[in-house]
């Protein structure tokens, strides 16, 4: 069973959570000033890294809050979870190596 640490509830089973897509994507302040390409970039284009990715997750069957998490897409190991609104935390090489293990 994969455990995910909700910043509010602590370690919970994966089935309680739902994925909310890539994190740290800000809506452009003035969409009318963007070109179609820039708008499409905001709407559709997402990173698809082999390795660490910052994602939004929601504790759907718990406190119902969104939070952010850094996960390794190869191993599904979570490095860190943090509250919405906080900047993406630095991941140390040791943490990254552990997540890739």
């Amino acid at each position: 069973m994969l455990l995910i640490r909700c910043p509010y509830c602590g370690e919970r089973a994966e089935v309680e959570f739902s994925n909310g897509g890539e994190a740290h994507i800000d809506r452009p302040r003035d969409p009318m000033s963007l070109t179609d390409e820039e708008w499409a970039q905001y709407l559709y284009m997402r990173d698809n890294p082999k390795g660490l990715i910052a994602e939004r997750w929601r504790h759907a069957h718990g406190c119902n809050r969104f939070f952010n998490a850094i996960r390794d897409t190869r191993t599904d190991r979570f490095v860190v979870t943090y509250e919405i609104g906080q900047p993406r935390p630095e991941v140390t090489p040791e943490q990254a190596a552990e997540a890739a293990r």
């Binding site: 069973m1 509010y8 509830c9 919970r12 089973a13 089935v15 309680e16 069957h61 718990g62 406190c63 119902n64 809050r65």
Partner: protein
């Protein structure tokens, strides 16, 4: 909760485990910012709102902190005290009565721990789930709320449509636990 929701067919009774449907009382879901929840707790006569996943009793009402922005309130048949509704009329919040949505049981018996372990992956031993702790979680496919009311008693609530499913899940789990 209405009498329709407490038909005896939802009771579970196995060797070492009983689930008794709850009768009466009303339920409210209150969502708001931190200050709103603190103010509501003061209107209940408490010094502060219960912390995350904790509960607090105020008269015949119980406040359960299910989320940073949410208090689940179980009251007697009279509903919320007037001081609380008066206070909530003055601040932005979302207060919804969900009495008809909820159906609950009191769980007890010496096989309670094993039965709960078959229902949920949560560690419900005393050290990680002390008396008074409450949380929403999944029981099989049913989204429910479990609250430890005493060392040997739990209070479990799910949405009404999950009632028969939850009841048969508990029955099967209790049967497993009795083995």
């Amino acid at each position: 909760m209405s009498d329709v929701s407490v038909s005896n067919s939802l009771a579970v009774s196995r060797a070492g485990f009983t689930a008794t449907p709850l009768k009466g009382g009303r339920r409210f879901a209150l969502q708001g910012r931190k200050d709103t929840l603190e103010g509501a707790a003061k209107a209940f006569g408490l010094s502060e709102a219960p912390g995350m996943l904790a509960s607090a009793a105020a008269g015949d009402c119980t406040l359960l902190r299910l989320a940073p922005q949410e208090l689940f309130i179980i009251t007697g048949d009279a509903g919320l005290p007037e001081a609380v509704t008066t206070y909530l009329g003055t601040v932005p919040n979302s207060l919804v009565e969900v009495s008809e949505r909820q159906i609950g049981w009191t769980l007890e018996g010496e096989k309670l721990r094993d039965t709960l372990a078959a229902l949920s992956p949560l560690d419900m031993r005393e050290r990680s789930f002390p008396v008074g702790m409450v949380t929403r979680t999944l029981f099989g496919k049913a989204d429910g709320m479990v609250w430890r009311t005493g060392m040997d008693t739990f209070h479990l609530e799910v949405w009404r449509s999950f009632g028969p499913y939850m009841s048969s899940m508990m029955d099967a789990a209790a049967l497993d636990a009795a083995w």
